[in-house]
């Protein structure tokens, strides 16, 4: 766990102007490593999601920089950044954002399709990853036919299908019951965390802290410290 995957340097982000200005993230510095499962925790409004958006290349900071595998992501063009995200970062959104009118396999194959891979090849790889998350038999169903936990796993399959080096999960257990949430995170920990991958998870859910290597605490937009993770954090 020595190679640095993500470096955040002096990240600042504010919204609005004048009296309405809200300083959401204040001078955040940290590093995340390959082979590490890093949690970002804190109360609502502490700037977790804003910080996650900046380090994953979808929200430009007002100051500071983010380096992923040595690339200063905010110094490259918008198109290059989109391409970078497509190949290097896997996203799991809080509400999954699966297309209800596509099949499960088609949803999982979206990153490969955006990479202009042939349709059948993309679907084949997506079906393989659905097998990894235990949903191979559900490949031809639309997401609305799946349970919340199954939809979460489809979102995970979509995130890993392009073999990203960085995975970003936003509140992955927010819509799940406790047992399902733990099962999902256990699966992520055991099957998706590799020495070549860094997983960053934003969560409120202390029931899943045991799967973290490190826990980064935020409050009022500031990074207030790190815990060692796992049971130590509780």
């Amino acid at each position: 766990m020595t190679e640095i995957a993500v470096t955040a340097e002096g990240l600042n982000k504010w919204f609005g102007e004048g009296e309405a200005r809200t300083h959401a993230v204040k001078d955040v510095n940290f590093e995340a490593h390959f082979g590490e499962m890093l949690y970002v925790v804190g109360p609502s409004g502490s700037g977790k999601t804003t910080m996650l958006s900046m380090i994953s290349g979808i929200l430009r900071p007002n100051s500071g920089g983010v380096r992923i595998e040595g690339t200063d992501i905010w110094s490259i063009s918008d198109d290059a950044l989109a391409e970078f995200r497509l190949h290097k970062i896997g996203f799991v959104f809080q509400d999954y954002h699966l297309f209800p009118h596509l099949t499960t396999a088609e949803n999982a194959a979206i990153p490969l399709i955006l990479q202009h891979r042939p349709w059948n090849e993309a679907l084949s790889e997506a079906e393989h990853d659905l097998e990894v998350v235990g949903l191979r038999t559900r490949a031809s169903l639309p997401p609305v036919k799946l349970s919340g936990g199954e939809q979460q796993r489809v979102a995970i399959a979509r995130a890993i299908v392009s073999r990203p080096d960085i995975m970003v999960l936003d509140e992955p257990t927010a819509s799940l019951d406790g047992d399902t949430g733990r099962t999902i995170l256990q699966f992520v920990r055991e099957h998706l965390l590799t020495e070549k991958r860094c997983i960053i998870i934003v969560t409120h859910d202390s029931r899943i802290y045991e799967f973290a290597d490190r826990i980064m605490r935020m409050e009022d937009g500031r990074l207030t410290g790190f815990d060692k993770g796992s049971l130590d954090a509780q």
Binding site: T50, E83, L86, H97, L102, E106, P111, W119, A122, R158
Partner: protein
């Protein structure tokens, strides 16, 4: 098909209610637009029925003539003058007028009477029953079997009627390419019989029908006729003049244009609104695609593909529906005045392209404005 278009296609057609609403909107708009313009084309074609049926290359008339039905008789010397022009192979008179017939049952029926040149019978219709030479027989008339034929009590050869206290007799039944606009039956006879049977003004020639030696002679003929104070038009020019009259001087064109615009607005409203709702409902998903790594231009191309696909499908269905309706109408009304022309199709197509452009513009604006961060923020 590239994968992103395949996704766009599935997002569109698998959302069946919206896809159906989009198709219904565009199909209905296209149907109305083509039906309206086809009816107008049919009316214009009917208005030029005499010009089409007679088939002369050049028509000489009074310059004040606006439509073929609105004749202004020409003096006889014009015929002589035109015949003497260089480049004229031949020129013959045509009588075009109307008369009130007293039918066998005692009822009266208005009819168009076409008087053909006695010598050449130039412009004669295609005979389907009887013989053309019988037109020279006493009191002879040829009845045209079109949608108004029944108004003459479906006459057969030998059927008699009265015309201005003269006896008339049907000696042949004919077919013509185009029926007239005004819903009255048509009879053909000779030019001189028209002069005998129908009360006339001082001058009697309705039109001069001219055949040039070569098409190149038409320019000179037109110049010389104009110098004599009259107007010579080719068949297509005369038809265009008639169309222009109905388009711009009768209100029919304006009303049809208005109906076409209303159809366009209906189509635009339905499809624009539905497409907007479709985009709004999928906005977060498009935002997710953007976060994952889709470029703005890829999302734009997906929306354009969807708008183009649904518009072309709706256009095809609209054209098909219109053709079906016209076909069905003609089963019961054989001379139903509607003609789908290339111009009608092109107009409807351009309107559909406009509908697709406006609809997709709304969607594109929304999708380009969505920030992936909004997806994270929920």
């Amino acid at each position: 098909m590239p994968g992103i278009y395949r996704i766009a296609f599935k997002l569109l057609v698998n959302d069946r209610s919206k896809y159906a609403a989009l198709l219904v909107g565009i199909t209905f708009a296209v149907f109305l637009m083509i039906e309206m313009t086809s009816l107008f084309s049919g009316i214009l074609s009917r208005a030029s029925a005499t010009v089409i049926n007679i088939g002369a290359s050049v028509w000489v008339m009074d310059p004040a003539v606006q439509t073929v039905a609105n004749t202004i008789p020409l003096p006889d010397y014009v015929l002589d003058e035109v015949r003497s022009l260089p480049g004229v192979r031949y020129a013959v008179p045509l009588y075009s007028g109307s008369a009130l017939l007293k039918l066998g049952d005692g009822t009266y029926q208005a009819a168009n009477i076409m008087g053909l040149d006695d010598t050449s019978l130039f412009g004669r219709p295609q005979i389907v029953s009887g013989k053309i030479e019988d037109i020279f027989a006493e009191n002879a008339f040829i009845a045209v079997k079109d949608s108004e034929f029944y108004k003459l009590e479906n006459p057969g050869i030998g059927t008699e009627f009265e015309l201005n206290d003269h006896r008339g007799k049907i000696v042949a039944i004919a077919h013509v390419a185009s029926s007239g606009l005004f819903g009255v039956p048509t009879l053909y006879t000779t030019y001189n019989r028209c002069l005998q049977y129908i009360p006339n003004t001082r001058f009697t020639i309705s039109y001069l029908l001219v055949e040039p030696n070569t098409p190149a002679d038409i320019v000179l003929i037109k110049q010389r006729v104009a110098a004599a104070g009259y107007l010579a038009l080719t068949k297509s020019e005369f038809m265009q003049q008639i169309s222009t009259f109905y388009e711009f001087h009768t209100g029919i064109g304006t009303n049809m244009l208005l109906m076409t615009l209303i159809s366009f607005v209906i189509g635009l409203s339905i499809s624009g609104q539905t497409f907007y709702t479709f985009i709004i409902e999928n906005l977060e998903k498009f935002g997710a695609l953007k976060a994952i790594g889709a470029k703005g231009r890829e999302l734009v191309s997906m929306i354009l593909f969807q708008a183009t696909f649904v518009s072309l499908t709706g256009y095809g269905l609209g054209v098909g529906l219109c053709a079906l309706v016209i076909w069905l109408a003609r089963l019961y009304l054989p001379d139903y005045a509607a003609i789908i022309t290339a111009g009608n199709l092109a107009l409807a197509f351009s309107m559909v392209v406009l509908i697709a452009t406006v609809s997709s513009y709304i969607g594109v604006r929304k999708v380009l404005r969505i920030e992936p961060f909004d997806i994270f923020r929920g």
